[in-house]
């Protein structure tokens, strides 16, 4: 059973089409990256998945069915801009919001204590939410998102505003969710996080899918015909190389259409050059993102 199945979904607001015929699916046990520039339609897509707004056309199935009240208990959602009841205590906030996910009070209390302990936030449990820093509030909201053991977790910019220690903590917990077989949708601008965590991605721009699929495959698709080389000695003339670019500590060799990196490596070895580093140049996801976002907008 797929965790999410979105089929030809369209959503238009008064002045623009926010999501335009978008289709994708998310499997159980994977971390799925939802990326795209600002205003691309990511949050609208998430809100339709969460049944906060209805699509104009198309279908959304969550955990194999149209989102029902009962199915909402198996969802965890961390919206992009976060807030809790400021005047309420930390533990009370967690217990109330988890009760709306179908948890009974004793198990909510027990699980809340456990997660507060795990995130190093136990000392805050009796404090009011308004007394917490932004980062601390974010951790509490992350706890609220996962406390009821959801099958599908949707995280909209979960690392924004977190210090490196808390970012690592959250990343570890997101990884644990995957290993427990849960589906995680990660919507973010931080491409390094996506590269590090996601198995598959969907990049949207102007409401439409631009890139969709397995992350290594996508990166391979964008791989340029060049090689990064760090070597000792004199390179001299190398057949198949049309251009050289000098970088700090290495050189980038641009190959002609006929020469493969494998062939080049053979030639360099046969020329007796001592190679310290030989790497097929792959663009970062950030570069692919910039390239695609620039192309379509």
């Amino acid at each position: 059973m797929l965790a999410v199945e979105v089929n030809h979904v369209v959503k238009a607001f008064a002045d623009k089409v926010a999501v335009d015929d978008l289709s994708f699916s998310v499997a159980q046990g994977e971390i799925f990256g939802l990326i795209g520039p600002n205003g691309a339609g990511k949050t609208t897509t998430i809100r339709m998945m969460m049944d906060i707004i209805k699509p104009d056309s198309g279908e959304v199935a969550i955990l194999g069915e149209k989102l029902s009240e009962a199915a909402k208990n198996r969802l965890g959602y961390l919206p992009e801009e976060r807030g809790l009841y400021k005047k309420l205590g930390v533990l009370d906030s967690i217990v109330y919001l988890s009760s709306l996910k179908g948890m009974d009070k004793p198990s909510a209390m027990e699980k809340a204590e456990e997660l507060l302990e795990k995130t190093g936030m136990s000392a805050t449990k009796s404090k009011k939410v308004e007394a917490l820093s932004r980062g601390m509030g974010q951790i509490i909201q992350f706890i609220v998102t996962i406390i009821h053991d959801p099958q599908l977790v949707v995280l909209d910019e979960p690392f924004a505003g977190l210090d490196p220690v808390n970012t690592e903590l959250l990343k570890g917990m997101v990884g644990e969710l995957r290993s427990q077989g849960k589906a995680v949708i990660l919507s973010t601008h931080q491409m390094n996080q996506v590269e590090e965590l996601c198995d598959r991605i969907l990049m949207v721009n102007n409401g439409r899918a631009v890139l969709y699929g397995n992350l290594p495959e996508i990166k391979a698709r964008y791989r340029g015909n060049s090689v990064l080389l760090d070597f000792e000695g004199e390179l001299g003339e190398v057949p198949g190389v049309t251009q050289r670019r000098q970088h700090k500590g290495y050189i980038e060799l641009i190959l002609d259409g006929k020469t493969t990196p494998q062939k080049l490596l053979e030639r360099l070895v046969s020329q007796g050059i001592v190679i310290n580093r030989f790497e097929v140049a792959t663009p970062s996801l950030n570069e692919i993102f910039l390239q695609e976002a620039g192309k379509k907008s």
Binding site: A14, R47, M50, D51, I52, I53, E69, K72, N73, L75, Y77, P79, E80, E81, R82, G83, L84, Y85, K86, K87, L88, Y96, L97, S99, L100, K101, Q141, V144
Partner: protein
């Protein structure tokens, strides 16, 4: 537990724990008790009142006004001429004097002179002068008992009969008005506070985007129903505290002050209609507040829009003086039937004249229909504008989207 019930419980507890709620709920009985306490203390410490005798001068140009110069606490002292009286006045020997002109018996005009600047002549002075003149004019003409009767104020005892000729249980008067009058003010206040809480709560949840977390757990209907019922229950708690404290305070007041407070009665059906109109008024205002909360991007903007309907709550109170003078004015029929003014208008009218059964029936029917319509529109507006942050939509846009949405 049912999710609507969870939201209901959360909203109710949150509302009654607010400092503002506790203060407003307790302030009514506390002020009443303080008032009674202060009155008792003051009257106990003051001891028996010493009545001072005042002297008023007069100049009798008509002749024959020389008897009955003691009128209650006022002593009347005659002067031969107006000049003498004026001298006594400017020397502060007397605070005032009056002249009975020679032609008094034909004109009835008396001229009064004083150093005091006053809005009108004190009633005690008028009574004293009037009785002095009447006594002197009638002495020897009619028996003394007749003079006494003429001078006494009218003792009018009114008895209201029912249509079958029996003495009615409700006799009317200000004693009848007091409880409905106070209750109508408290009702308006309670509805105003509940509306403010609802708009504030929704605005806060929208601003903090908590609403998205809530709606990923519950439906719009569950969220709104839970909120409306929770705050309604808080309002009911408030009204019940006030209603429960009223009989106690009134008992205490009638034993302390006596007089007027002894005549206080509750109109028939008052409690039943009070609760019916509170619940319906609350439902209408909650729906209106939810609608305002839905189209407002923030709590502050919502509060700015709320007076459009919350001010209407107080309209019957502004016109209450008209009700006392013209209880059957058509204005009252309009205020009784118009749904936003109905709860307060009906409470006020119950205390003054009562409300005809047909008006009550129409008023309740219109209220029920309005509640259904406004609730329907509010839920619709809530869904449409829930996630529109930033700019508040214009009236034309709201009407268009409500029609098409």
């Amino acid at each position: 537990m049912n999710k609507t019930l969870l939201i209901f419980k959360h909203e109710l507890l949150n509302a009654i724990k607010r400092k503002g709620f506790i203060i407003i709920t307790l302030i009514v009985p506390v002020i009443g008790l303080l008032g009674i306490g202060i009155f008792s203390l003051v009257s106990a410490s003051a001891g028996p009142t010493v009545v001072e005798t005042t002297t008023i001068g007069y100049v009798d140009e008509a002749g024959g006004f020389d008897q009955h110069t003691t009128q209650g606490n006022i002593e009347l002292v005659g002067f031969d001429t107006q000049d003498e009286a004026t001298t006594a006045l400017i020397n502060y020997d007397i605070p005032e004097y009056f002249v009975i002109p020679a032609e008094y018996t034909s004109t009835g005009v008396i001229n009064r002179y004083t150093l005091q600047r006053e809005l009108e002549t004190p009633a005690t002075t008028i009574t004293a002068i009037k009785n002095f003149l009447t006594s002197n004019l009638l002495t020897g003409e009619v028996p003394p008992d007749t003079i006494e009767l003429v001078e006494k104020p009218l003792a009018l005892v009114t008895t209201r009969l029912t249509e079958t000729g029996e003495v009615a249980t409700e006799q009317g008067g200000f004693g009848n008005l007091l409880v409905p009058g106070i209750f109508s003010m408290l009702l308006a206040l309670s509805l105003l506070i509940s509306s403010t809480y609802l708009i504030q709560g929704l605005g806060d949840e929208k601003e903090s985007r908590l609403i998205e977390v809530l709606l990923s757990s519950v439906s719009t209907r569950q969220l709104l129903t839970g909120k409306v019922l929770g705050l309604g229950a808080a309002g009911l708690v408030q009204v019940v505290v006030w209603l429960a404290s009223l009989p106690l305070l009134l008992n205490l007041a009638s034993s302390t002050f006596g007089g007027f407070f002894v005549t206080i009665q509750l109109p028939a059906n008052f409690i039943v209609l009070g609760i019916v109109y509170f619940i319906m008024g609350y439902a209408l205002f909650a729906a209106l507040s939810a609608g305002v909360g839905a189209i407002s991007p923030s709590a502050r903007e919502g509060q700015q829009l709320a007076p459009i309907f919350t001010l209407l709550l107080f309209v019957p109170l502004w016109f209450s003086s008209i009700l006392f003078i013209f209880p059957n004015s058509p204005l009252w029929v309009v205020l009784t039937i118009f749904p936003v003014t109905a709860p307060v208008a009906v409470m006020l009218r119950l205390g003054v004249t009562g409300v005809p059964a047909w008006e009550l029936a129409v008023s309740i029917a219109v209220l029920v229909l309005s509640i259904i319509l406004v609730m329907f529109l509010a839920i619709r507006a809530f869904r449409i504008y829930l996630l529109m942050y930033g700019k508040r939509p214009g009236l034309r846009e709201i009407i268009r989207t409500l029609r098409s949405g």
